[in-house]
């Protein structure tokens, strides 16, 4: 089958390119049912982007849900086997309330998960695939990477009370240094320790510039070791597109370690989000670790598309007495010429066409041409 790229929407082109990319790295497609037991989502409500779920009662009386998320289903079905890593990708419709519309929408989501005996190679591979996924969509992309382990260590070190921790993390996520500083002062954190958090929030930008700054923040062995691990993974990624940014924060109840978000120029929000979610695995009674990401292809809608000059190349007018066989041949001849044709008895309203033709017994006559 030959499909012209010009006929595919940006979203569809990306889906095909990503499937091919993930396949090349040995990831197999994970297919699943549209429905899942509602119970799975209730237990992990905060993991979901939106906690509204479409539910219905199945014929056996079980409360079911239209999948709002794919990762939870994959985690549920994965098995702990020492030394084994399950590598899957998916391309599924999910149903969730979007923040902007406040209404349920069917969203095509593509993603990739690597579950099992995860090591630093697996993490580097997933990050590489995240970067390459963005590169498939646009040359102008940025992959923001953060490390929740480092962030937690530093917040533990400054000794903020657990009830102020959430608000402080929100400030980090918003790059809000003024309120972070106020919260630390109100909590009685001494200046030196509060300054450490300010320094971490300043640690943003290209990997080679930021890593040396990170090493200087805390002298303890655990910090130094984590920075070194972070560095060794990031050094394998395309430096010109990767930035360290601690404002990337995912829910600490589910995520740990490296987390990331991807942006492409022209889309006002992130189109890729992922990270290590060992904590989710442990909450779902799995011993192994996991890392993965989702690509929100529906958000590519905001990418500017050049407006089409014409809806169709040719409108071929015919009257009720026209010979069907001759008309059929005329349309076929035009399409074989590579033109798009619509055969109509009258010119459709608001249709922009290149040329208007009239079908007659003696052949096709040109009525109008638009430049």
């Amino acid at each position: 089958m030959k499909i012209s790229n010009t006929l595919l929407k940006k979203e569809e082109q990306a889906t095909l390119a990503l499937r091919e990319l993930y396949g090349r790295y040995g990831y197999t497609q994970y297919k699943m049912s549209k429905f899942e037991e509602y119970d799975l989502y209730v237990r992990n409500k905060n993991f979901l982007i939106s906690d509204s779920v479409i539910t219905f009662t199945d014929t056996n009386g079980k409360l079911m849900a239209l999948k709002p998320d794919v990762t939870l289903s994959i985690v549920k079905n994965t098995k702990d086997i020492p030394g084994y890593v399950q590598k899957v990708y998916y391309n599924e419709n999910v149903y969730r309330v979007t923040e902007k519309t406040h209404a349920f929408r069917e969203i095509m989501q593509t993603g990739l998960e690597c579950l099992g005996d995860i090591d630093s190679y697996c993490i580097a591979e997933v990050l590489t695939l995240a970067a390459r996924s963005l590169a498939e969509i646009s040359d102008d992309y940025i992959l923001d990477v953060s490390h929740l382990g480092l962030l937690s260590q530093l917040i533990d070190h400054i000794g903020i009370a657990p009830d102020a921790r959430g608000t402080l993390l929100e400030c980090v996520a918003q790059k809000n240094r003024h309120d972070a500083s106020r919260i630390c002062a109100e909590a009685g954190i001494n200046r030196e320790r509060a300054a450490l958090l300010q320094h971490l929030m300043e640690c943003q930008g290209e990997v080679r510039q930021v890593i040396p700054m990170l090493y200087t923040l805390l002298p303890n062995e655990e910090w130094q070791r984590t920075v070194a691990q972070f560095d060794s993974v990031l050094s394998l990624l395309p430096a010109e597109h990767v930035r360290i940014d601690f404002s990337v924060i995912h829910d600490l109840r589910y995520y740990s370690g490296i987390v990331f978000q991807g942006f492409v120029k022209g889309v006002p929000e992130n189109i890729l989000s992922g990270g290590q979610y060992d904590n989710l695995m442990h909450r779902m009674d799995k011993k192994s670790g996991a890392v993965g990401f989702a690509v929100y292809l529906d958000r590519l809608d905001s990418l500017a598309v050049a407006p089409r000059d014409f809806d169709i190349d040719t409108v071929l007018l015919y009257d009720a007495n026209a010979d069907t066989k001759a008309l059929h041949a005329a349309v076929k001849a035009l399409t074989e010429d590579g033109k798009s044709v619509t055969a109509q008895k009258t010119v459709p309203e608001k249709l922009k066409y290149r040329q208007l033709l009239q079908f007659t017994e003696s052949g096709v006559k040109l009525l109008e041409t638009n430049a």
Binding site: E99, K100, D140, I142, D144, Q174, K175, N176, H178, D179, G205, R243, S247, F263, K265, V267, P268, E269, N270, S302
Partner: protein
């Protein structure tokens, strides 16, 4: 080109003056006309005036790269944006006000009238107080006078309006000031321009201290 959403009104004028000082001038903005969009190609900046409560929406959706919005709007609508700087202007506070001499009876559900339902909800939830929320769009001060509510949650600047309506502040919910906000994706692709501007504004604020 850096797109900047400014809040219409006095606050916007003050903020523009700061942006101008930071090297992002756009003289045409001072012309007396009804235009809403002003551009200076030399400085690479485009300003537009929008309703103060809409600034965050323009920035969140990427129609503006940066903007200036009150902390009240950011708390109420929680837009997904970066909050880069406290502009230390437009200073006021979100407060609970009640008729003079009002005493809260914890046995009763408290009737609260406000335009800022999320802020009020969060505030009373943090205190575990049961409330009956009444959403109003304006003239909040008359709600307790007419018996529509027990208290109001609203922005208080000087307190004159409250005084004139025989109300007084009984609690401060949160201090408010204007904040410089940025669209997350714009920040990634226009980092240098936005950071330079933020730093310049921060220096101006420091010099004024």
């Amino acid at each position: 080109m850096l797109n900047v959403a400014l809040p219409k009104g006095r606050l916007g004028d003050r903020v523009y003056a700061m942006f101008e000082k930071a090297g992002f001038e756009c003289p045409s903005i001072k012309e007396n006309n009804r235009k809403l969009i002003f551009e200076n190609e030399v400085c690479g900046v485009r300003y537009f005036w929008v309703k103060p409560s809409d600034v965050a929406i323009y920035v969140e959706r990427g129609a503006a790269d940066i903007g200036v919005a009150g902390k009240d709007i950011l708390l109420e609508y929680a837009p997904d944006v970066y909050e880069l700087l406290d502009m230390k202007t437009g200073i006021c506070r979100m407060a609970v006000a009640a008729p003079k001499g009002f005493r809260d009876d914890p046995r009763r559900t408290l009737k609260v009238a406000t335009k800022f339902t999320n802020i009020a909800q969060n505030y009373y939830a943090s205190q575990g107080r049961d409330i009956d929320m009444i959403h109003l769009n304006g003239s909040i001060e008359i709600a307790p006078i007419l018996g529509l509510s027990d208290v109001i949650v609203d922005i208080v600047e000087t307190g004159t309006t409250l005084k004139e309506n025989n109300l007084e502040v009984i609690e401060t919910v949160v201090p408010i000031s204007a904040r410089l906000i940025a669209n997350k994706a714009s920040w990634k692709f226009k980092t240098e321009q936005i950071t330079a501007l933020t730093e310049h504004l921060a220096m101006q604020l420091k010099a004024e201290e």
